[in-house]
Amino acid sequence: MSRKRHIHEVEDLDDRPLLQVEDLKTHFRTDHGLVRSVDGVSFTLERGRTLGIVGESGSGKSVLSQSIMGLLPRQGVVHEGRVRFGDVELSSASTAELRGLWGAQMSIIFQDPTTALNPVVRIGRQLTESLRYHLAMSRFDARETAIALLRSVGLPEPEHRLRWFPHQFSGGMQQRIVIAVAIACGPKLLLADEPTTGLDVTVSAQILDLINRLQQERYMSMILVTHDLSVVTGRTDDVLVMYAGKIVERAPTATLFRDMRMPYTEALLRSAPRLASPSHTRLQAIPGSPPNPAALPLGCRFAARCPYAQPRCTAEEPPMRDAESLNHQFACWYPVGTPEGRRALEENRARGPAAVFPGTA
């Protein structure tokens, strides 16, 4: 095993964002055709800022986070577009280069803590191995750092827990350990992929607060991926709404909630569980389901489920355009809160429920 470390110190260039994603496409070759999970996503993320990516399951948001990291296999997957991390071009980086960044400069927190930790490896080693590998720490230093990390994520009596196995902890505690592993080497970018899916409401709020606190303390940039709009409220600076592999609306978080334009965002917000209800409630209130990513429809991908949909929506794909408010873009022909949108909705209502929800007719 090569002990050569490929830590690539990402330079702090004030004029350049930490992460630039340009027209990223991730398509899987399968027996059922080309599955277009991520289909042209662009955004930038500044140093120390947080970005929420929201969408239903199947919208491609989880693939997006692994795709940004470069974790997806190269075989059988079409990768297009550019991902730039600091001054490193991830899309063309070698495996060794990526390995030097993974864990050290960019980390990911996975959905399910019960499967993200290796069941047969003591948590102490799962925590210290990246410290020893990336930062070349001594066994003792790594142990001390691990204890400090576990303490900072709120694990009680960390010095006694290092020799425990994952199954000896509760789900919430396991997720805290996963977070500790992710932040161990002090990454500049943290991707949190539905970090609270399997947890109950109170625990999930604690975990989200913990992630937020750590992000601010350590001045990390963070991408928080979730299906639950209420999760990003007050926690992220900006929000991207994703549907069927594309971004359909982007705005600063407060703007989005106040002044959404995309009917999909509206539907998401209406169906989102309130803070009081369990966080893993599925978004069932939007009729129908996202289109098959192997056979995407013409025009707007949401049209089939959209109460505003007009003939134009199924024929022409709406481009991203600017809203009046700052840094706010959306892709819709009949946006919410505009005269055209209101007219479209009324016409559809007049035609009856079948016209309002064509997907369920």
């Binding site: 390995r99 864990g103 996975f110 399910d112 499967t115 069941p119 191995e129």
Partner: protein, 321 residues
Amino acid sequence: MAHLARLRRALEALVTLLLVTLVTYFLTSKLPGNEGAVICGSAPVSCIRHEDMVLYLNHPFFARYLHWISNLLTGNLGNTASPPVPITTLLKQDYPVTLELIIYSQVMAVAVAIPLAMWGALRANGTFDKVTTGLTFASLSLPYFVLGPLLVLLFTISKPFNWFPGVASSLPSIWSSPGTNLDVMFLPSLTLAVGSVAVYQRLLRADMITTLEEDYIVMARAKGLSTSRILFRHALRPSTFTVMTVGGVQIATLITGAVIVEYVFGLNGLGSALIAAVSSKDLPTVQVITVIVAVAFIVLNFTIDQLYAVIDPRVRRARAV
């Protein structure tokens, strides 16, 4: 619950042990052999007289069995039929060869099977994977008594490859001259190893493919660890559960293999002792070796079952079955 289950397994093993001795005694006492030898234990040869034999045979079966088993338990294994040598002497000579053969072969098998399985699983259905899987499948159809002589033919006789000493070379102790010993034992161990490689490679590869799809492997990659570290530190152990459960069955196959391999290569181990005893209808020796082999099998199987708990921490505390 866990303790009860473990107790139950131990009890089962004990009952099986007892029955194994009973069956062995029953089967072997039916052998048309020199039954008189049994009662005399390690007493001098003169013991075997006609009167003793009649006396012995007039006892009921269970009385004879109890006599025999109590002798066995006190370490009195008796004498071989002819010439009368204490069986313990015979065993002390022979067991190290068999033990070395089995250990040597398993070291080889594991050393070859793990990299083959890992590399195959990493690129599942790639060329390397297909070729190794095909080869190991084919090697399952090469019994020890075919492979052994073929290896002898290939590596001891014909000119370019006669790298190893031939059949029935004298075998020095591993402690006094390890080089020569390992040289002589190489081909016998290889013969025994090939079948094990096939079994281990196939099971390990299948489990490894499943393991590599686990979230914690993606997470290990996301930590930036090297492929070899991920494979050995993260993927190997969770992939060994099936191999462990099958390991017990493997031991029975290995003992059978050892009998043949020792015969093929003219090694003086327990296997060739058993064959010699069977051919000369040496009843006491057959009984003792059979019992020892069966007992070793049961004990090893039981141990491996317990080892399972060491490998998988999740079953260390609560084990249902």
